[in-house]
Amino acid sequence: MTLFEKSVAGRSAFSFGFEEDRAVAERYIPEFARAAVKSLPQVAELDLVRHFTNLATMNYGVDTGFYPLGSCTMKYNPKINERMAADPRLTVRHPLDDAAGNQGILQMEFELKESLQEITGMDDFTLQPACGAHGELTGMLIIHAYMRDHDAKRTKVLIPDSAHGTNPASASMAGFQVVTVPSNERGGVDMDALDKLMDDTVAAIMLTNPNTVGLFEENITRIAELVHTRGGLLYYDGANLNALMGLIRPGDLGFDVVHLNLHKTFATPHGGGGPGAAPVGVKKFLADYLPIPVVVCRDGQYALDENRPHTIGRMSGFYGNTAVLARAYVYIKMMGRDGLLATSRAAVINANYVKALLSPYFPPAYDRPVMHETVLSAKGYDKYGVTLLDIAKRLMDYGYHPPTIYFPHFPPYAEEVMMVEPTESESKETMDSFCDALIKISQEAKENPDLLLSAPHDTVVTRVNETYAARHLITSHRDKKGT
């Protein structure tokens, strides 16, 4: 039941030292005042508390259990980060107040920028983008602006078939035409295809490395050389940086633009779908294009630099998601050089461990060591009449969040693959029992497929009817009243 359905006229949790002064509207805005909104819920404070407290328990989160959602890096979100980000010296600061009053925040942002530069090997950063896709757009707009100034005929962007959907969407939103590059039989970029496609109409290639099958792009040096020699730039989708920290740097590999998902690699919580933060780093020759403002430090004073004639402009109303940046800052400070390296090492070891344990039941497409995640196939199970979806739903009954399923969707992965990313936060026991559960389910698939077909059983709702939702399109309380 929604809060709207729980409403009772006259109830209230409103506790402010004033009441509606009807004269105000009549006196000051006679023509523009709307009629009172009559359909908001009216509830007492306890109604509200129970409503949302119970909703919160209907959600599975990292704090509840194992969340091996591939490509999403659902690692532990340290509680100290939340405490720091709730500091009123940060939360109760107006973005337009003098830089002099915000030296602490600006210092934090500047130090974060410096850390990210070191971690990625890039020369400058904007902290403004709100999420990964926003970062991609920012990065591609930078490339677009650069090419406009230098080589305007370059209107295409190459994107591997394995790429996350945001990559092509962002490129296209940044005004580019998207050309898909197929993968080779080892899961990497098909070099021959690339060679053919990489001509003087191509502005850039967008790569995720490790890519979305969890494999490091072996030919990255050759790709970089090829693309650069032919006048293109390399964009790095940093969603998978969790595999590489302290091991190897995208900047050193030849990438010109990178975005990072702080809500993945840098431990800020996902919040059921954001807010995140996705700083974008660039090599020096692109720094002039960064969106304004840019945090700078001059003579020990921190400032927001808006005077950048080549800037692509603004990506948001202010400067980005400061409170999210603060969490990532604290995380990086606390992990330090050894900790970040230990993080990537552990993430990689864990992924390979899970892969090895599950391989006999869910074969990986390539028998190569993976980086931070592994893609496994459930193709064989159709003979028992069950699909990957059924396996995923059944995992819920065992108390786990399913891996990412049906992604990436390109050959030879077109169907029935799951992408498992344990992250460094998980212990051996957790992974062991998760694998045990999947193995048990693979057994159940043969012996009692109905158990999978009707799963999940132990959740607050059973499988939700997507067709019903699409057909009825009830997307607000108002729609319900209508029906």
Binding site: F16, N59, L96, C131, M334, R478
Partner: protein, 457 residues
């Protein structure tokens, strides 16, 4: 990993021994794995970052750093896109419950009903408040939502030109330009009238030149003034463009007309005022509401009500075929993660203040600004510009007090000083060379107002 035999990193459970055991079990060495780096050398000598801090050290470091900010204030004369409002304790309490905070986007509805239902409720609130038919479950912020609205209008109308009122928040305008630039869409600005509102004549004439995909108007506008959206809407529709209404101050939704009644095709804006702190500019909350006829065109995620296999009410993401993960380069937007937790926060906030409470808040904002303005005018150092135009909780005042003087006079008062506006934006006032955009919200209690007036007298 350490002499004590204790793991050094509290966020990584595996001990060195365990990692060895795992690698042994699967017959790999870590070096085997990184062989895939193929000649690409590892970071030599490691990252040049300091050693990690422990939690107690971190708290100390943070504390020293944050003490370099001037402290939090009790009210703000500064608005212009970020507003200081009272946040009832119940709001962060509920919005920070771990089930909400540590979940991902609700791809698996059976174990994500908490997020899904909250977002459905957020959408419901937005539909009611914007008076539109459909709202997505959030965008990043007001500026990027506005830019996305213009892109949507372009998808629908295809004309490579849009109009933006001169009275739109300049950062919103800049964002719109950034988003539209690569598509070769011209962004023309509609002039402001002497009353601080968009000029109907200029609008009419600019619309008559060539086809436009959209007209963007903000109300209350950047100068705090309430635009006549209904009248503008009529003109816009006469010229077959989409009418995009925008707001930076969501509190205005409690009192002002938006949406279908004023001819809007899209209502976009920022929901920060709905229970979210300013946090130096983010994360805030992008609101995007539109009409059902655009339900294949709008950007962002949306939750629909459905049923489970037992016929029980259940929620699920719907209209997914527009999205990047399915449509890739043909998606209606690249947006993936949005600002879900902030949408949930706004839903809690609106649930908490309730129907009449939200309106009371809106009225109080209007009243507080009026009190502040008349108080300031009574000092003789201020006079309102655009006197005849209706305002919500911000207004432009000319003043004899220069910005530096303003700051130092207000140094002892717990408020953020008002925004000094570039002179060029507004008409000159004799003897009052400085111009301010001044904001008042319900936080400006009478005791603080008195201090403000005292300091500026």
């Amino acid at each position: 990993m350490q002499s004590t035999g204790r793991n050094k990193f509290s966020f990584i459970p595996a001990t060195g021994d365990e990692q060895q055991a795992m690698l042994q079990k699967i017959g790999l060495q870590f070096d085997d794995i990184v062989k895939c780096f193929a000649g690409n050398s590892c970071v030599e000598g490691g990252l040049q970052l300091p050693d990690g801090l422990t939690e107690d050290q971190m708290v100390e470091y943070w504390d020293t750093m944050m003490s370099r900010n001037s402290g939090p204030r009790k009210a703000s004369l500064l608005g212009a896109g970020a507003y200081m409002h009272f946040i009832p304790a119940v709001v962060p309490h509920l919005a920070s419950l771990p089930g909400f905070v540590t979940a991902y986007t609700p791809y698996q509805p059976e174990i994500s009903q908490g997020t899904l239902q909250s977002l459905f409720e957020f959408q419901s609130f937005m539909v009611e408040l914007t008076d539109m038919e459909l709202a997505n479950c959030s965008m990043y912020d007001g500026a990027s939502s506005t830019a996305e609205a213009m892109l949507m209008a372009h998808r629908v109308k295809k004309a490579d030109r849009v109009l933006v009122a001169a009275t739109v928040n300049p950062n919103y305008l800049a964002t719109v330009r950034t988003y539209l630039e690569p598509h070769g869409i011209a962004v023309d600005v509609v002039k402001m009238n002497g009353d601080g509102r968009v000029s109907m004549e200029d609008l009419e004439s600019k619309l008559s030149v060539t086809a436009c995909s959209a007209v963007l108007v903000q109300s209350p506008n950047y100068l705090g003034i309430i635009e006549d959206l209904g009248a503008i809407g009529t003109i816009v529709h006469r010229h077959d463009a989409l009418f995009v209404e925008s707001f930076t101050e969501a509190m205005a939704l409690g009192l002002l007309k938006y949406g279908v009644g004023t001819g809007a095709d899209v209502v976009v804006g920022d929901g920060q005022s709905l229970g979210l702190s300013m946090s130096f500019g983010g994360p805030h909350l992008g609101v995007f509401a539109t009409l059902k006829k655009y339900n294949r065109d709008f950007p962002g995620r949306i939750v629909g009500e459905s049923i489970d296999t037992k016929g029980r009410q259940a929620f699920v993401m719907t209209l997914r075929a527009r999205e990047q993960d399915i449509r890739r380069e043909k998606a209606t937007s690249n947006i993936c993660s949005n600002h879900a937790l902030n949408a949930l926060t706004a839903a809690v906030y609106l649930g908490s203040v309730g129907e009449s409470g939200f309106r009371a808040l809106a009225c109080e904002n209007v009243a507080k600004l009026q009190k502040l303005v008349s108080g300031l005018e009574a000092t003789g150092h201020f006079t309102r510009v655009f006197k005849q135009s209706p305002v919500f909780n911000e207004a432009v005042l000319a003043s004899s007090i220069a910005p530096e003087d303003m700051r130092s006079r207000l140094a002892g008062v717990p408020v953020f000083p008002p925004l000094a506006l570039a002179r060029s934006i507004v008409p000159e006032v004799q003897g009052m060379p400085h111009t301010y955009l001044i904001c008042a919200t319900e936080m400006l209690k009478d005791s603080i107002l008195k201090q403000v007036l005292g300091a500026l007298s």
